[in-house]
C-alpha cells in the first residue's frame, strides 16, 4: 500500500512538472510580446526594451520558467502584465467558485446515476428499466449549456422560481447563494448523471452475472440483498474510472456553464484573460486546470486501492 502510494505520488509530481513545461512552452511560442501589446503600435524600441526588463521577459526562457514554476509552489502566479494586479489571489477566489460548481454538479450526477443505474440494471428485463435507459440516452445527447438554457427557460423565465443567472457569494446571503447555484448545478449534474447512469447500469449488470453473487444467494441472501452486500462495491470500481474522467469533463464543462449563468468562476476568468490578451493569467489558469485534472486522477488511483485489495500489493 505504501509503495503504491509513493509510486502514484511520484507520477503525480512528475506529470505536474511536465505539464508545467508544456503549458509554459506553449505560451512562450505564441506570437505576441506582452511588452509590445501593453505599449501599443507607436511605442519606441527603447520603451519596449525597458518594459521587457521590468516584466522580466528579456531573461532566457529557462530562467523565466524556473522563476514562474517556483512561484507556483508557493501560490505566486506572478503579476498580470495587463492589470498589474497579482494573479494568485484572483485564481484562488475563482477556483473556489468553480470547485463548488463542479462538486455540486458531481453530487447531483451521482444522486441521479447510482439509484437510476442500479434500478435499470435490476429491472433490465422490464419496461421501466428500459425507460430509464432511454431517458439517459436522451440526456447524453444534450450538451450542458443547452440543458442550462432549457432550465433557465423553464424555471427562470416561465416559472420565475429561480434566478436566470448571476452569483451571490455565500458570505453575503447563504439562501441566495444556494438559489443562484441551483440551476448551474442541475445543468451540469443532470447531463453528467445521464452519462453516468449508463455506466452504473452496465457495471451493475456485469456484477449481477458474477459467480460470487450466486454464492451470496446460496448462503441465504435474496437477489437484492446479495447485490447490496456483495455487488455494489464491486460495481463501483469501473464507475470510479468513469467518474474521474467525468470530473475532468465537468471542469471543462463548467467553463461554458459559467458563461451561460454569468458565474465568476475559473472559466470566466480564463475567457476574460484570453480576450484581454493577459498571457500570464491564461497561463496560470490553464496550469491550475491541468493540475486539477492530474489531482483527480491521483485521487481515482487512491480510490482503486481503497476499494480493491488486489491493487494494494500491486505496483
Amino acid at each position: 500500500m505504501i509503495v503504491y502510494l509513493v509510486k502514484r505520488l511520484a507520477v503525480l509530481l512528475a506529470s505536474t512538472a511536465v505539464a508545467g513545461v508544456v503549458v509554459f512552452a506553449f505560451m512562450a511560442l505564441l506570437p505576441g510580446d506582452p511588452a509590445e501589446i501593453a505599449l501599443g503600435v507607436n511605442a519606441t524600441p527603447e520603451a519596449v526594451a525597458q518594459l521587457r526588463q521590468q516584466y522580466g521577459t528579456d531573461r532566457p526562457p529557462v530562467t523565466q520558467f524556473l522563476d514562474w514554476f517556483g512561484g507556483l509552489v508557493t501560490g505566486d502566479f506572478g503579476t498580470s502584465y495587463v492589470t498589474s494586479s497579482p494573479i494568485g489571489p484572483q485564481i484562488g477566489e475563482r477556483l473556489a467558485v468553480t470547485a463548488v460548481l463542479v462538486t455540486g454538479g458531481m453530487v447531483i450526477a451521482l444522486l441521479v446515476a447510482v439509484p437510476a443505474g442500479t434500478f435499470a440494471a435490476v429491472h433490465h428485463r422490464n419496461p421501466l428499466g428500459a425507460a430509464i435507459s432511454a431517458v439517459s440516452q436522451v440526456g447524453i445527447a444534450i450538451p450542458a449549456f443547452l440543458a442550462g438554457i432549457l432550465l433557465v427557460f423553464v424555471f427562470a423565465v416561465k416559472a420565475q422560481a429561480l434566478p436566470s443567472g448571476g452569483y451571490v457569494p455565500m458570505a453575503e446571503d447563504p439562501a441566495q447563494w444556494l438559489l443562484s447555484l441551483l440551476l448551474p448545478w442541475l445543468s451540469l449534474g443532470l447531463v453528467q448523471g445521464a452519462v453516468l447512469t449508463r455506466y452504473v447500469r452496465s457495471s451493475v449488470l456485469d456484477v449481477m452475472r458474477e459467480d460470487y453473487l450466486r454464492t451470496a444467494r446460496a448462503k441465504g441472501r435474496g437477489r437484492m440483498g446479495a447485490l447490496w452486500r456483495h455487488g455494489l462495491r464491486n460495481a463501483s470500481i469501473p464507475v470510479v474510472t468513469v467518474l474521474g474522467l467525468q470530473l475532468a469533463t465537468l471542469l471543462i464543462g463548467a467553463v461554458v456553464v459559467e458563461r451561460v449563468f454569468v458565474i465568476p468562476g475559473l472559466g470566466d476568468l480564463l475567457l476574460n484573460g484570453v480576450a484581454g490578451r493577459d498571457l500570464l493569467l491564461v497561463q496560470g489558469v490553464v496550469m491550475v486546470l491541468v493540475v486539477a485534472v492530474l489531482l483527480i486522477n491521483f485521487v481515482v488511483d487512491l480510490a482503486y486501492a481503497v476499494l480493491d485489495p488486489r491493487l494494494r500489493g500491486a505496483p
Binding site: 454464492t215 451470496a216 446460496a218 435474496g222 464491486n234 476499494l307
Partner: protein, 306 residues
Amino acid sequence: MKLLSVEGLSVRAGELELVREVSFAIAPGERVGLIGESGSGKSLTALSLMGLLPEGVSASGTAVLGGHRLLGVPEKRLKGLRGRTVSMVFQEPMTALNPLMRVGAQVSEVMTLHGRDRAAARARTLDLLDRVRLPHPAQIARAYPHQLSGGQRQRVMLAIALANEPDLLICDEPTTALDVTVQKQMLELIAEVAPALLFITHDLAVVASMCERVLVMYGGRVVESGPMREVFTRPRHRYTEGLLDASRLTPRGTRLPTIKGSVPSAGAFPEGCVFRNRCPHAGPRCETEPALTGEAHGYACWHPGD
C-alpha cells in the same frame, strides 16, 4: 426414510424443456452421484433444488427436503433454507468468492445470516477453516481470495457450505477446475465431511470413488439409476454403456471407443428416446419414449444391455 425426494422435476426456459420429469431420492447420509455430459441437465437439476435457477428459467414438480418444499415456494422461504438446510459448492472456485471481502468475513456471513451472533460466528469460522484442513486458519481468515490458490478457495467454499451443518450438500463439479494433485485431497475431504451428498460430475472415476448410488442423465432425463457398483459393472442403458466404454483405458494402439455424434443442443434432442440418434441399437420402437423401469436399478431403454 427419505431426506430428499424429487418427483417429476422439469426445468424449462420459455418453450424449451431443459430437464424433464426427473425423479430420485436421497436417504440421510447417502452419497448420490449425478453423471452425464455437459448439457445433460445436471447443473440445472441442482440449481433448481437450491432455488438458484437463472432468470427466465423455471422449475416445476415437487422436491421435498426434510419436510420443506423446495419448488413453487416463495423466495423468502427458500432463503431461509439455502446455506442452512441445503448448501452448494460450485465448479469454479476462482470466481465464487467476493474479491473485495476478507475470507473470514465471507465464511462468518453465512452464519450471521442464519441467526448466529457475530462473535460466535467469528470463532466458528476458524474452526471451520481448520476442519477443511486449511493451514493457519487465522491467517487465512484475514486473507483476501486472490491471496489463496484455487484449491484453498474451494476449501473455503466447503467451509461456507458446512458452516450451518446442512442436511444435504450439493457439489457441482467441485474438483473439475483443480489440479489433479489437489483433486484427490478435496474429494477425500468432501467424502469425510458431507452429511448427505448430491455429487455432480462428468468424471466417472470420481463418482466410483465417492458415491453409493448413481443417476445417469442425458438430454435432460435420468436414463439410468441404481447402486454405483451395479450400474458401473452391468450398465443397462446404451448411453451409460457408451459412457463407460469411452472412459475405459484401452490397450496401446487400439482405437479409443467413443459415443458417435455429439450432444445435441437444448431442444434439438429427438422425440421418443433422447439417445436414439446416437445409439447403435436404435430401432423403430425407440420412437416412443421409454419409461424408467426396474426397481433398485432403473433404466429407460427399449433394448437394454445385460
